[in-house]
Amino acid sequence: MIRFDDVHKSFGSHQVLKGVTAGIGKGEVVCLIGPSGSGKSTLLRCVNGLETYQSGRIAIDGQPVDAESSGIHDIRTRVSMVFQRFNLFPHRTALENVMEGPLYVLRQDAAEVRERAVALLTRVGLADKVNAYPGSLSGGQQQRVAIARALAMQPQAILFDEPTSALDPEMVGEVLQVMRALAEEHMTMLVVTHEIQFAREVADSVLFLDGGRIVEQGPAGEILRNPKHERTQDFLRRVTHPV
């Protein structure tokens, strides 16, 4: 459903992606791991056109992603994104945040959108926070609203960029729990994460990105237990046994 073919990207003279080729099937959960600065966020952001890329091809269901074309808006309604820093709209309530896209972008019926938004917030455990503003919610709660906002678009896939990295440790679990439930329902997910345990349990496959290249990819169990490549072994040792 999402395909990368030899994707190259540089910021000025700084080459960040040096030929990434990979694929994510429908209903698959793929975790993208790798050291800081390896280009994980950049790769993810190219998928919904928040970044442009110079050469190669990214396609969603065969439709090429071009951040500069007008088709990008349509792609974004089909591929949602959850950000590290939540990026909820601070001047709108949790419910309004969730309703915003379906109501104003997709122009769906207000009553239906509201009903679905309440159901989504209930599903992420925030039935009692429907009318709360983001500023009065904890990080974990905000991220769950953000996931509900992404789901409200009824996307074909969701991109997660380190969704738990900005959270206090005690709130990581509640967000991962919601993501685990999504995976069980076979939502297509591309997740940049440092939560190796989560990747082990939930991911179908893992991509290890280093220096702008995919160094290793394959089934999660295999890569996380017996990484072939030395750089992957190194990286996993460091994130699972931090000094």
Partner: protein, 218 residues
């Protein structure tokens, strides 16, 4: 003191007439300047060079010219190219043009101060630029911009006295005429100053209350 009071009573009707004109010029110029300022700000942040660059030049030009010169220009030069304006119209247009550039810069700064993550979140749910501006960026920029905007309003009110140079009979002009006919400079200009304060002090107060109310809102 009683002399001051009797003279005040005598001068007040004329000064109040001037005051009304000051208020009218200020409100009209402010409305126009705010709309134009928003247009300049949206053009300059549009990301489209063909729109942003000329706007930038216009703003830099206007900000580099004294208001007096702009007023003279509009009042005396425009008729030469066939556009006849009353002093009042020229005054409003001159103030509005000048302040649209100040206010436009204020708005632009506000728009640019909105967190980039907000723009990305709006894009990520498929919003196109106009919707994103209306629903996400401008409501947040509005809050950021309120204090400097309030400052612009007070400045505009005070600068409305400049239109007296093209003989708009607003408060300052009325004061000047009264003073030269009565030679009572002290009384007249004290009254003029007090009348300005009657406008600026409540205005500052209201703006501060609005700011506090907005700061408390989510």
């Amino acid at each position: 003191m009683s002399k001051f009071l009797t003279q005040s009573a005598e001068y007040m009707p004329l000064l109040l007439k001037g005051l009304w004109l000051t208020i009218a010029v200020t409100i009209l110029a402010l409305c126009l300047a705010t709309v134009l300022g928003l247009v300049w700000a949206l053009l300059r942040t549009s990301g489209i060079r063909a729109l942003a660059a000329p706007t930038r030049v216009l703003v830099e030009f206007v900000r580099g010219i004294p208001i007096l010169v702009i007023l003279f220009y509009i009042y005396f030069v425009m008729p030469e190219i066939g556009i006849d304006l009353t002093a009042f119209q020229a005054g409003v247009i001159g103030l509005a043009l000048t302040y649209s550039c100040y206010i436009g810069e204020t708005f632009r700064a506000g728009i640019e101060a909105v967190d980039k993550g907000q723009v990305e979140a709006a894009k990520s749910i498929g919003m196109k630029r106009p919707l994103m501006m209306r629903r996400v960026v401008l409501p947040q920029a509005f809050r950021i911009v309120l204090p400097p905007y309030a400052n612009n309003v007070v400045m505009l009110l005070k600068d409305s006295s400049q239109v007296s140079v093209i003989s708009v009979a607003e408060l300052t002009m009325q004061g000047k005429m009264l003073a030269s006919s009565t030679f009572n400079n002290m009384t007249v200009f004290t009254l003029v100053a007090l009348l300005y304060l009657c406008l600026t002090i409540p205005l500052n107060f209201v703006m501060r209350r609005v700011e506090i109310a907005m700061g408390k809102a989510p």
